[in-house]
């Protein structure tokens, strides 16, 4: 997928002014946020479970190469062809080769974020293959020629009215904004395509090394269709997806579904241990697994391996005040929101996604929501430091920090400068008690944000008054 992360400020500004998008985001994030909070409030012990889940992910990452080899051994023993891909191009080439080898013409595709990274659909379609995205959200994105804006809810950016217009245009459907009728139309469109598909492609939520089991978690049943009906089945698996044991899976699975959609479990959790066995009445004749690196090894031996612990639940997106306002597309790549602001620079090079670590107020809501307790604000802050150390600093902020440092060394200067700034800010703040534009080089800061005026009484003065009154 084309990387547009360096256009974040521009895209975010457009997004904030897009009223339809704001409506869609309000409806989507509020619902998802509440669903997660309800679901996590009824577990045995949310804090302890998060640490249990986190420990499972960290253990798995610690032994990652050994677990990948174990997974490969187990899968190969059951007749699964295991392929490895260093980058997106190699992943795509493997899948195209498989399609050619098996004389595939039609492909039914389930949800896969890895193949969003690699831009697989475009390649396959360019080679004359017929690819249909079968998750409803992904299908909408496909026929609208867009990209998903959320890991779990790909069309969180769309209102039902927009889907109505899209289906009327692309599926020649009588316009209706009833989600049930829209869903039924998508089902009717896809049904024959499932039956005729020669090959299914899907992503993977967890890969259990101990048993050689690949897990897909879906609600619609499209995933089971992709992995059960076509004669060839391919899974694209990021190498970080591996976990050690079935017991770890039990915890991680339930925290994933509760954090993602607020469900105790999703409708379909499919545990796949290989292609159909000789006596099975149905199932794929051939199965391939492509283990994809595409930048993950460089995260692994870099400064931020914690980013690989993510189980892609999307909770940090729903809870993030920045995501809630700008939506997923502004982040300019596959992964949006707080974890996207970490992963996109790490997978693509920090200077190719320089605005993203700054696209956060560091409020900590993402860490609080994360089912594996990833310290996202800390990762963002350290990425900002990397940018500055690497010469990618906002000149206005550098100037401001220098001025601050000078004033902090002199109490008199600090007091005078503080009073002057305070008085000026209260004069300049308009009817809404907010500064929309700061003067001179400080204007850089207010280009994309507002500035609150200083308090009438500074802290130092309050402190002196309290001391005078004999209060601690």
């Amino acid at each position: 997928m084309e990387l547009k992360a360096n256009r974040f400020v521009e895209s975010a500004t457009t997004a904030i002014r897009d009223r339809v998008l704001q409506t869609a985001l309000d409806r989507g994030t509020t619902h998802a946020l509440n669903a997660r909070i309800n679901a996590m409030s009824e577990v045995t012990d949310a804090a302890a479970l998060r640490q249990q889940a986190r420990a499972a992910r960290l253990r798995a990452l610690h032994s990652l190469p050994d677990l990948l080899e174990m997974l490969e051994r187990k899968l190969t023993a059951r007749g699964v062809h295991v392929l490895w891909a260093s980058d997106g191009q190699e992943c795509n080439r493997h899948i195209l080769d498989i399609a050619r080898r098996h004389h595939v013409r039609q492909i039914a595709k389930g949800k896969s974020m890895v193949t969003e990274e690699t831009g697989l659909n475009r390649l396959l379609e360019g080679e004359g293959l017929d690819v249909v995205e079968t998750d409803l959200g992904e299908f909408i994105v496909q026929i609208a020629h867009e990209t998903p804006s959320h890991i779990i809810m790909p069309v969180m950016h769309k209102t039902r009215e927009q889907v109505r217009d899209l289906f009327a245009r692309e599926l020649h459907m009588t316009p209706t904004d009833d989600p049930a009728a829209l869903t039924a139309a998508a089902r009717a469109y896809m049904r024959p395509r499932f039956i005729e598909a020669d090959m299914g492609i899907q992503g993977c939520n967890f890969a259990i090394a101990e048993t050689g089991t690949l897990i897909t978690v879906t609600n619609e049943g499209n995933g089971r269709m992709c992995s059960s009906l076509p004669r060839v089945f391919v899974m694209a698996v990021g190498i970080e997806k591996v976990i050690e044991t079935l017991d770890d899976f039990g915890t991680l699975l339930q925290l994933l579904t509760r954090s993602a959609t607020g469900q105790r479990l999703s409708s379909y959790v499919h545990l796949i241990n290989g292609p159909a066995r000789p006596g099975d009445p149905d199932g794929p004749e051939a199965m391939y697994v492509v283990l994809v690196d595409n930048g993950r090894t460089s995260i692994y031996d870099g400064e931020y391996p914690e980013a690989l612990a993510c189980i892609r639940c999307g909770a940090c997106l729903n809870t993030c005040p920045v995501y809630q306002n700008v939506g997923g597309h502004a982040y300019g790549w596959v992964y949006a929101g707080p974890i996207g602001a970490v992963v996109t620079p790490l997978l693509n090079g920090i200077h190719n996604a320089a605005p993203l670590p700054h696209a956060s107020s560091l409020c900590g809501a993402c860490k609080a929501a994360c089912p594996v307790d990833i310290n996202i604000p800390d990762l963002l802050l350290r990425l900002r430091a990397d940018l500055v150390a690497d010469g990618d600093a906002d000149p206005a902020i550098s100037l401001g920090v220098k001025g601050w440092a000078v004033a902090m060394r002199s109490p008199q200067l600090y007091e005078v400068a503080g009073k002057a700034a305070s008085a000026a800010s209260r004069v300049a703040a308009g009817y809404d008690e907010t500064l929309h534009r700061l003067p001179g080089p400080l204007g850089h800061w207010t280009r994309n944000r507002d500035f609150p005026p200083f308090a009438a009484k500074p802290f130092r003065q309050l402190w002196r008054e309290r001391k005078r009154q004999g209060r601690p």
Binding site: G28, H31, P65, L68, I195, M225, E244, D282
Partner: protein, 224 residues
């Protein structure tokens, strides 16, 4: 598979092993895992299972006798002349009863050259009847294991799924089943489906719609 594949394999594994592995201090595997869902010591598992399935818009039937169970199935099948099903079902005599009512049990063999034809033949069937190898009370989940007697399609293609569950296959939680039978199940079967309620989507403005691709109606008959 090919040379490129192998060199990438080596490159990836070598790079992962090139420096000290991260998270040396990751906590060890716990001796006892904390389960996710709450469940009282003396809880009635059938009641909890039923409540969970119903919460998801599924239906649970508790027929007092085998005959009642068969009548429940017949009631769901209604006027249909064909149902899809597993080769083996945990309700002895059901096949005969269905046959006596002129209802054919179709067991698709969607393999090899007949795949597409069998799928097309199976597609119009409205009701699929399966057993359930296990169920989990706290989430209202059914575990269906694929083998030569138990296909993937009857719980997937028809809009209505009827699962016949033996009461002694009801586990308190998913964790209990994974720990006691999960390993054996993973080596015994290529495909295990954990089914929790009907097929659903919330992709359009998070509004729940049932029956997208999988069954929109799920009946669980707990056998006497």
């Amino acid at each position: 598979m090919n040379n490129t594949g192998h060199s990438s394999r080596d490159r990836i594994l070598q790079r992962l092993r090139a420096s000290k592995p991260p998270f040396e201090d990751a906590p060890p595997r716990p001796a006892q895992y904390l389960p996710v869902t709450r469940l009282d010591e003396d809880a009635d598992l059938v009641a909890r299972f039923r409540a969970e399935v119903e919460r998801l818009s599924g239906q649970v039937h508790l027929p007092p006798t085998a005959l009642d169970a068969m009548n429940t199935v017949l009631g769901i099948v209604g006027e249909d002349k064909a149902v899809m099903g597993w080769e083996s079902l945990p309700l002895p005599g059901l096949k005969d009863v269905l046959a006596a009512h002129g209802i054919q049990i179709v067991i698709p063999h969607a393999r090899g050259d007949q795949r597409r034809a069998e799928l097309q033949k199976a597609e119009p069937i409205r009701v699929g009847i399966t057993g359930a190898d296990a169920a989990f009370a706290t989430t209202g989940t059914l575990a269906l294991i694929t083998n030569d007697q138990q296909g993937r399609l009857p719980s997937l293609l028809p809009p209505v799924h009827v699962a016949l569950l033996r009461r002694d296959r009801l586990f308190p939680r998913i964790e209990d089943w994974l720990a006691s039978e999960g390993r054996a199940a993973m080596s015994a079967s290529a495909s295990i489906a954990l089914i929790t309620g009907p097929s659903r989507t919330g992709d359009i403005e998070m509004q729940t719609i049932l029956g997208v691709h999988g069954p929109g109606v799920v009946h669980v008959i707990i056998l006497p």
